[in-house]
């Protein structure tokens, strides 16, 4: 039987506010345990929540970024359950009236086509603390620093049909939130976490199969692997005549498998009701319009502009707009050198290669965008040739010069275009290579093209790479042919 995979994602994004969603405690990562848990975060008797305006603004910005409806009124509810990392015994969330209504996110499939994934809604809620399972005499330690950090939970429709689409969607969300600057998107630190709903159904069937929810899949790679495993598990189960159970599963990256979480011995009953300590949040149109007017250009718009205005391929435009930092760097290079295609080639080629080799982020590149632009300009105006350019880049990367021109000067890489000088070097090479000249002369004319490479190499070597290769080629051919 042919199976179709159906995937929906719940993505939790920690918003990059300075203080918590309902208190004035810091949200900074990595502080000493419970040093950033204030009375409100600890759920001390008598304390009350007050909503952070930046968390609201960030949620609305996200909504605008995915072209979602922004309802005028949203309401906070309490989700009641007991857990040591949940100090008040309830999580303040938005069950019935979320701050962001339906919207959509574009993803680019491998064949370059664009698919729209619908977002059901996004709502604000508070993060929980952390349980640390190191052994404290058989006890668990609870750190509530993270409790109360604002989260935006983004709930997709079950619109994804493969692990790759799910990963692309997650990357698209990542790129939107980082473009907007509403989250650092750092998955390793838990700033972005993901629950995956997976089901399979026979191709052509309308109704969805029973789904499993895989909790806390916290990297792009794990999303793909967890889904791949889960899909295979479900298909195998169904083909053996079994049934998929609706349940929560955990992905174990070490074993590359998902496992049932059996700890929930009974169905939860969260007893949602409107939080009486918070009032309805009312957003007037002027406020939403103001945020809309000040929205930065988002990845989808940027990609379209790179294609339309710069004539870049869909692929190049996609890569260069994937992150705000990449796009900004690219545009600065482009402005410095004046040629989008050259800038695109260098950013995706030499620069990305070097960044990948050293595991650096583009914002930490040792070669500034303007410096790279200057280097490209020197290639374009024939000051240096392509080979020398790579040397200059490497030198700049290693911090061996302030500017491209300085490196070119210091290393004497300026391209030799003086015909007299080139002719002299060629004459010398021909004089030093009687055997090769003889071979050249004896060869069939159509084989000579290949043999000229040797002479070009020698001349370039003699010029320490500075001779203009096109010029060398032409003069060499003329001179050698004259000997035949």
């Amino acid at each position: 039987m042919q199976w179709e995979t159906v995937i929906g994602l719940e993505v939790h994004v920690q918003l990059a506010t300075r203080s918590k969603i309902f208190s004035g405690a810091s949200t900074a990562f990595g502080a000493a345990p419970n040093s950033q848990a204030c009375a409100v975060d600890l759920g001390m008797p008598g304390v009350l929540p007050v909503l952070n305006e930046t968390a609201v603004a960030m949620a609305v910005q996200f909504g605008l970024g995915i072209h979602a409806e922004i309802p005028e009124v949203s309401v906070f509810d309490r989700k009641n359950y007991f857990y040591p990392d949940l100090p008040k015994g309830y999580q303040t969330s938005q069950m019935y009236h979320p701050i962001v209504g339906p919207g959509e996110v574009e993803i680019t499939l491998e064949d370059g086509t664009i698919k729209r994934i619908r977002v059901h809604h996004a709502h604000l809620e508070e993060d929980a603390g952390k349980s640390l399972h190191e052994d404290f005499h058989g006890m668990t330690g609870v750190d509530l620093n993270r409790a109360g950090t604002p989260l935006l939970e983004i709930v997709s429709e079950p619109d994804m049909r493969s692990a790759k689409e799910a990963a692309a969607y997650l990357k698209a969300i990542h790129s939107i939130v980082t473009y907007l600057g509403i989250s650092d998107g750092n998955m390793a630190e838990g700033s972005m976490r993901c629950d995956v709903n997976v089901s399979v159904r026979p191709v052509g069937q309308e109704t969805y199969g029973t789904r499993a929810e895989i909790k806390n899949v916290n990297s792009f790679r794990f999303v793909e692997r967890a889904i791949a495993f889960e899909v295979e598990r479900q298909i195998e189960l169904l083909e053996d005549g079994g049934k998929v159970v609706q349940e929560t599963r955990l992905f174990d990256p070490e074993r590359d498998e998902t496992r049932s979480m059996r700890t929930k011995e009974e169905a939860n009953d969260y007893r949602y009701f409107p939080c009486p300590d918070l009032l309805p949040v009312v957003l007037d149109q002027a406020y939403v319009d103001h945020l809309r007017d000040n929205l930065p250009e988002l990845p989808a718009d940027k990609r379209a502009r790179f294609e339309a205005d710069f004539g870049l391929s869909a692929y190049d435009a996609g890569v260069l707009s994937a992150s705000r930092e990449m796009a900004e760097y690219f545009e600065r290079v482009k402005n410095a050198c004046g040629d989008a295609k050259q800038a695109a080639n260098w950013v995706q080629g030499e620069l990305s290669g070097a960044l990948n080799r050293e595991g650096r982020r583009i914002q930490d590149s040792p070669v500034a965008a303007e410096t790279l632009g200057e280097l490209i300009r020197r290639v374009m105006d024939d000051t240096i040739n392509g080979k020398a350019a790579k040397q200059v880049f490497q030198a700049l990367w290693n911090g061996e010069g302030e500017s491209a021109d300085a490196v070119i000067e210091a290393k004497g890489l300026k391209q030799v275009t003086d015909t007299g000088a080139i002719e002299a070097m060629i004459d010398q090479v021909i004089a030093d290579s009687p055997a090769q000249v003889a071979q050249y002369r004896d060869a069939e004319p159509d084989k000579r093209g290949k043999m000229i490479g040797y002479f070009v190499g020698q001349v370039m070597k003699a010029s320490r790479g500075t001779a203009n290769p096109q010029q060398v080629n032409k003069v060499l051919k003329d001179k050698l042919d004259a000997l035949c």
């Binding site: 009375a39 309830y90 009032l279």
Partner: protein, 491 residues
């Protein structure tokens, strides 16, 4: 000094007749002598009190006296007080020393008041008789065989017995007004949102409101002025200026339109209470007010609606008492579930458990619409009843409670206890202000009788008007000046 009003004491301090230290010492001595029997205070803080009194005296000497400089009072043990045990009348918080002050406590300190201690209450403010306290019941100073009312029973009893001239209470369904009525003092529940709830241990968040309890409306006006106002830490507190609540106390009542809700004079109302209230209304007529009957048609739905909404909110508000970060923790928990279940079973008393169970049940899947949503709809109808009535009249009047204080231990059935709050509970659902003033006694001789309270209600933020109406009554009558025998004997 102990039978003076706050206003009279302020004048005495101002005139240098006595110092705050002398006043504080006198009252601390009285507490020592009398409170063993009354049990109105859970914690007495003599050192802190004397230090505050000295600071107040020093400030006055510098010419830097705050608005309530050097005036002693007590605070219901539901308000967090930094460095002082804050128990909520519960075993759960018997070991809880609050690490911060409630906003009301901060404001009272800033106003120069001197706190003598924390008053007894029904556990987590759940009750109408003060019999639900981990620290034992409070006795009514008028008759130690009677309850003082609840949940602010300790505050009411302490004021009535002359242990303090004023105390802070909270009112979720009548918890200031009913004990004020039972103890023959004046108690004001302000409009919801008028006084910050920050640092007040929550019972039912959409109903809780703090207010003053004192001998006179005038004293309440001074206290309300000190504690009211917008608080950035309480989202439900209202950003609205605080008027001088004493400014209109003296305004004549000529032309005042009084409404008597016919539902407040029906079955179950003690005839002596009814006649005292009707006498009081006659006093108002003599002061130039006009009286008409009005109807609050949804009155009888108030108690059912309240016993859905309040326990639901409470069940969630009290989830934080889990034995992890503060409060009672059971010995040697076997596992996490055991920690939760035993700590909470041991920490909470019977009435609290009852309300947690009711609230948990009515919020459960399948019941939410039938109970919680329905109760909220009824809540709107109840509020509308009041808004409609206030289109026709300025204030509503009626009894605070259908009976005077009942005997300790007399009311065993929870439902019949709940029904006692018939005249006070709707006020919290609607969020309007209400005040209870002494209006007579049930019993042959006042000194042996049990006090009766007249309840006066106004529309949202009509506190100035209520205080004016109450004050004028107290200018024309002397019920508020009567003192229980216990207070007289102790002289």
């Amino acid at each position: 000094m102990h039978d003076k009003t706050l206003t009279e004491l302020a004048a005495g301090l101002q005139a240098g007749e006595f110092s705050s230290r002398e006043l504080t010492q006198a009252l601390l001595a009285r507490i020592k002598r009398l409170d063993g029997e009354l049990n109105s205070l859970i914690t007495v803080t003599p050192e802190q009190a004397l230090e505050s009194a000295d600071n107040a005296d020093a400030a006055r000497a510098r010419g830097d006296a705050a608005r309530l400089n050097g005036l002693p009072l007590a605070i219901k043990d539901l308000f967090c007080t930094e460095g002082v045990k804050t128990s909520a009348g519960s075993r759960m918080l018997d070991n809880f020393i609050a690490p911060f002050d409630a906003t009301v406590v901060e404001k009272l300190k800033a106003a120069g008041t001197v706190s003598l201690g924390k008053t007894n209450l029904d556990e987590f403010a759940m009750g109408s008789s003060n019999e639900n306290s981990f620290y034992g019941p409070v006795k009514n100073p008028w008759d130690t065989g009677a309850v003082p009312g609840g949940s602010s029973g300790g505050s009411a009893a302490a004021v009535a017995a002359g242990l303090v001239p004023a105390a802070m209470g909270t009112d979720t369904g009548g918890s200031i007004r009913q004990p004020a009525a039972f103890c023959g003092i004046t108690g004001l529940k302000p409009t919801y949102g008028r006084v910050s709830r920050y640092g007040i241990i929550a019972y039912a968040s959409s109903l809780d409101q703090a207010g003053p309890m004192a001998r006179t409306a005038e004293d309440c006006a001074h206290l309300l002025g000190a504690i009211a106002g917008h608080d950035l830490r309480d989202s439900t507190s209202v950003a609205r200026g605080v008027p001088d609540y004493t400014a209109e106390l003296g305004a004549p009542l000529t032309g005042l339109k009084i409404g008597l809700p016919k539902e407040y004079f029906g079955d179950g109302l003690d005839p002596e209470v009814e006649s005292a209230v009707r006498e009081a209304v006659k006093v108002y007529e003599s002061l130039g007010a006009t009286v008409r009957e009005v109807s609050l048609p949804h009155t009888h739905y108030a108690i059912p609606a309240y016993y859905v909404i309040a326990p639901a909110e409470a069940s969630s508000n009290l989830s934080r008492y889990d034995g992890v970060r503060f409060g009672h923790r059971c010995d040697n928990p076997a596992d996490l579930i055991d920690l939760y279940k035993r700590s909470r079973a041991e920490g909470f008393g019977e009435e609290v458990k009852r309300r947690i169970l009711i609230g948990t049940h009515t919020l459960s899947e399948g019941f939410f619409d039938a109970y919680y949503k329905k109760a909220q709809q009824v809540r709107r109808l109840i509020r509308q009843d009041f808004l409609d009535a206030f289109e026709e009249v300025d204030v509503l009047m009626g009894p605070t409670s259908p009976t005077p204080a009942f005997d300790l231990g007399a009311n065993k059935d929870p439902v019949s206890m709940y029904l006692q709050d018939i005249y006070t509970i709707a006020v919290n659902l609607a969020g309007i202000p209400g005040i209870s003033v002494p209006a007579g006694f049930v019993g042959k001789r006042p000194a042996e009788g049990r006090p009766i309270g007249l309840q006066i209600l106004g529309t949202h933020f009509a506190e100035s008007r209520l205080l004016n109406v109450a004050h004028q009554f107290q200018q024309a009558t002397d019920w508020h000046r009567r003192r229980p025998a216990i207070a007289e004997e102790a002289r």
